[in-house]
């Protein structure tokens, strides 16, 4: 299983000197461009922050750290359990409803964390219908009963796990689908039962994919602002925001952001290190229909419940609550202006998805061709943005683009006596740039995981036949990865649909999206009215998610015809 890297030996290593070559330069170039906004913010680190650190240290820092760690551990465990478990059930077992769950399990992906937070709080808080009913039914007073506090660290962990597990489900399911029957059969021959086969063979084999999914979910957790702010759980992200905008201490805020980034970097590197040189390739191309366990009776029921719970709690219930709110007190702008919001959301999401996937392919292929610390570091740096709060990225985008705009204006004023105004900031260019910075990790992780599963022999054969690296990518890798590229695009699409802080700061004049509309109403404490836009985000998000799911179940190699040349 653990083949030594053929690629590494294909790269000119023996000379002792390392040449980046065209792909390497391209990879590093993209990485620099995408890392710029983050680096610009981090450059504030070198400005002495003065006594503010003493203040943070004495007062709030320990709370930020504990909450952030708690959130990471909790959500990490939650998404792994739900995501891997349901993926295995759906791929390897036969039970009633499996066909529906296969795609329905992805639905919570369309629900933004801040939206599920609004919906559940309305339901479960002290003043909400559930507790009010209990109090009236049993004539309880405030102190007569215990009820879990929804606005708490535990509440945040539960709700985030419910909407973020699809990342893990998606990637580990793809890995399970793509696994070779041979491995499983060998496992069975050696007398492994289903459980040990799952834990001992399938999970380790799918580990890069699972880790990729968990990493996505955790980075999404780290940069979440809306939900934790609403719940009053102070994390690094809310801390950065408060320090930057509330205390006006930009240097200290950047230093907090730097801490967060170092933490993420260490986390990612630890995962890589723990896999060390173990690289997993399927070396045979033998794919048959996967053998499935037929579940009956209680076991079938349990499997059914296990798959239904995340869908109901992560999608059906919150969507139902939103619908109820919408019917009770919806947005009066619902109608033609709404079409405009939706159109803006769709356009932005599509453009950003295409750009991000193309760049992810280039970067991950560059890393594959030139396995060197420089390219690998470049790839990691380029995908750091996912863990950075959107508002920080927005500021990071504003600083260089605003500087360019100012310079252009000064120059034009001196030379031609005119001021052309803004060229980059406040345009779609700035928005798409910010989205790609923020979400490249999503497409990169997906593409990289998929590329990693293509045995290097393919490259070697193609190159031996005298085909260039670019053509090999286009004619060999891309067709094989088609499914994953599509998946990557859809993930970005849905992410951009939900994205808020960067959109709010960077968008052009008179330009609103569904998320912005939802935010405007929510920040004015009109949650019931915000439900209409929130529902629309969910609705628009479901369609690509379902399409993705159908495409994925068809993508098992060997089950369809050979990939088109």
């Amino acid at each position: 299983m653990t083949a030594p890297s053929v690629l590494a030996s294909a790269a000119p290593r023996g000379s002792g000197r390392f040449r980046l070559g065209g792909w390497g330069v391209l990879t590093v170039g993209i990485a620099v461009l995408l890392a710029m906004p983050i680096l610009v913010v981090l450059a504030h680190v070198f400005i002495p922050a003065g006594e503010i650190w003493a203040h943070l240290w004495q007062t709030v820092l320990s709370r930020y750290v504990t909450n952030t760690l708690g959130l990471i551990v909790g959500v990490g465990a939650g998404v792994t359990l739900i995501g891997v478990g349901t993926a295995w059930l759906v791929v390897m077992c036969r039970f009633p409803g499996r066909g529906v769950f296969r795609w329905a399990l992805l639905l919570p992906l369309a629900v933004p964390t801040y939206v599920i937070a609004y919906a559940y709080t309305d339901l479960l808080q002290f003043a909400g219908p559930v507790q009010t009913m209990l109090r009236e039914m049993f004539d309880w007073g405030r102190d007569d009963y215990w009820f879990p506090q929804i606005r708490s660290l535990g509440g945040a962990i539960a709700l985030m796990s419910l909407v973020l597990y699809p990342y893990v489900y998606l990637l580990s399911r793809a890995a399970f689908i793509e696994q070779s029957v041979c491995v499983l059969e060998v496992g069975r021959t050696l007398g492994r039962g289903p459980t040990r086969l799952f834990l001992g063979v399938a999970v380790p084999l799918a580990r890069p994919a699972i880790a990729g999914g968990v990493a996505l979910a955790l980075m999404e957790t780290l940069n979440d602002f809306g939900a934790v702010q609403f719940f009053g759980v102070d994390t690094f992200t809310t801390g950065i925001y408060r320090t930057w905008f509330g205390l006006g201490e930009q240097a200290a805020a950047a230093q907090l952001a730097a801490c967060l980034l170092v933490f993420v970097f260490v986390l990612l590197m630890l995962e890589r290190w723990s896999r060390r040189r173990a690289r997993y390739f399927h070396t045979t191309g033998r794919y048959r229909e996967l053998p499935q366990y037929e579940l009956r009776g209680v076991r079938a029921l349990l499997a059914c419940v296990a798959c239904a719970l995340p869908v109901v709690l992560g999608f059906v219930l919150p969507a139902g609550l939103l619908l109820e709110m919408h019917l009770r007190e919806g947005d009066h702008l619902f109608g033609t202006r709404f079409m405009g919001f939706a159109w803006n959301s769709l356009t932005l999401a599509t453009v950003a998805a295409v750009v991000a996937v193309v760049l992810a392919v280039i970067v991950s292929y560059g890393v594959r061709l030139r396995q060197h610390l420089v390219t690998q570091l470049a790839a990691r740096v380029a995908s750091l943005g996912y863990a950075v709060p959107g508002s920080v990225i927005a500021v990071g985008v504003l600083i260089p683009l605003g500087w360019i705009d100012s310079q252009v204006n000064l120059f034009a004023h001196e030379r031609f006596g005119m001021t052309p105004g803004l060229i980059l900031t406040g345009t779609m260019v700035a928005l798409v740039y910010a989205y790609v910075v923020r979400f490249l990790a999503v497409s990169f992780n997906t593409v990289e995981a998929s590329l990693g599963k293509i045995t290097p022999n393919m490259d070697a054969v193609s190159r031996t036949l005298g085909v260039s690296a670019g053509t090999t990518l286009r004619r060999v890798h891309m067709p094989i990865m088609r499914g994953s590229l599509f998946a990557a695009g859809i993930l970005i699409f849905v992410d951009v649909m939900k994205e808020l802080p960067a959109t709010v700061i960077l968008r052009p004049f008179d330009f609103d999206t569904l998320a912005v509309r939802a935010y405007e109403l929510a920040s004015d404490e009109r949650l019931a009215q915000a439900s209409t836009s929130a529902l629309a985000i969910v609705a628009v998000g479901i369609i690509p998610v379902i399409v993705l799911s159908i495409a994925m179940s068809r993508s098992r190699p060997g089950s369809a015809g050979p990939p088109a040349p």
Binding site: H55, G232, P420, I423, G426, I505, V516
Partner: protein
């Protein structure tokens, strides 16, 4: 496969598109337009802009967003910014904008005459156009309102575990705390905040509306929130919300001394505004009778110009004494207030 000449041609759209975008962007602000950055999210503001356009022929281009982030954007756009006017809520934010150097002073007889002195910046960097009151609410069934008559009373140990207040991340609370600093000094304000935090019924959470609903549901007996959130509940389409508001009574604090804490929604002209004249004209329009009525009506706020008809719901409350400290003071003490909140663990 060699690319045919035809194929090669098809690769050109990208640069062409880029140039088109540049050209479109460069055409920039033209003629009679006014670029407004607004942190108010009220749909009725649209009517305000439409009216202005109808009166003057100047088209309003709008960018809504969060105050702090809009400010950051203004800052970064620098000389290239198309912005003419910044509208935001809370004196703390207006002060921050002035401190960041993104506003310019305006001298206008109309504004000086119509906007009371304590509701605008002494040098004309910004002007308040609506007033919002930070009130105390009590549960009619559980609390005797005579017990609390001032903000200071909220720190009284007898109220242990009975108060709902939202996070100090919220600028309204920062400004309330800043007003305590302004009147009593930092040390006393810290003591007050410490006492208040000790009296909380639950960890600070949710928005202003949630504090009132918490009081209505009996989770706490007292809450602090801006007045228009309460009015909004009273006027809600949802009968449950109206019923909740009915269960809540209002305390107008500090009527026997300095008066209750008032904040403003306001606006200023952006430094380097390309259309400065239009911008000043817009501010003057905001102080006009029509605009003041719209401002008040849209969000149940109090106009700054005396003599404008009030929203019926708040007119019934009658008149009361308001704190006359210049709202610019609230901004000046804002950073201190945030630190005090951190120190006493008001999250």
């Amino acid at each position: 496969m060699k690319p045919s000449p035809h194929r090669r041609g098809s690769r050109r759209p990208l640069p062409v598109l880029l140039i088109a975008i540049l050209v479109a962007a460069c055409s920039g602000p033209s003629g009679d337009e006014l670029f407004v950055y607004s942190a108010r999210h009220y749909d009725t503001d649209t009517q305000l802009f439409d009216d202005f356009t109808a009166q003057t022929g100047i088209r309003v281009r709008l960018l809504q967003g969060n105050s702090d982030e809009l400010l950051e954007r203004l800052n970064r756009e620098g000389v290239a910014s198309p912005a003419d006017v910044l509208i935001t809520v809370d004196a703390g934010r207006l002060w921050r904008a002035e401190q960041a150097g993104v506003l310019q002073p305006v001298e206008s007889e109309v504004l000086a005459e119509r906007v009371p002195a304590h509701l605008r910046h002494p040098n004309g960097y910004w002007f308040g156009f609506s007033q919002r009151l930070r009130l105390i609410y009590y549960n009619r069934d559980a609390f005797d309102p005579g017990q609390v008559t001032t903000y200071e009373d909220l720190a009284d140990p007898s109220l242990d575990g009975r108060i709902c207040v939202r996070s100090s991340n919220n600028i309204y609370n920062q400004s309330l705390l800043a007003s305590m600093v302004s009147h009593h000094g930092a040390a006393a304000a810290t003591e007050w905040a410490r006492g208040l935090v000790a009296n909380l019924a639950r960890a600070p959470q949710g928005g202003d509306t949630d504090q009132i609903l918490g009081v209505a549901a009996g989770e706490c007996e007292l809450g602090v929130a801006n007045h228009y959130y309460y009015v909004r509940l009273l006027n809600s389409e949802d009968p449950d919300r109206r019923a909740a508001a009915e269960r809540v009574g209002i305390i107008f604090p500090n009527q026997d001394d300095r008066g209750l804490h008032v904040n403003v929604g306001g606006a200023g002209v952006v430094r380097g505004a390309p259309n400065r004249e239009h911008a000043v004209r817009f501010l003057e329009y905001l102080a006009s009778d029509e605009a003041q009525a719209l401002f008040a009506e849209g969000n149940h706020e109090y106009p700054v110009v005396p003599g404008i008809a009030l929203d019926p719901a708040i007119e019934a409350w009658g008149d009361f004494r308001r704190d006359q400290v210049n709202v610019a003071e609230l901004g000046r003490h804002n950073p201190e207030a945030v630190r005090i909140a951190d120190r006493v663990g008001w999250r």
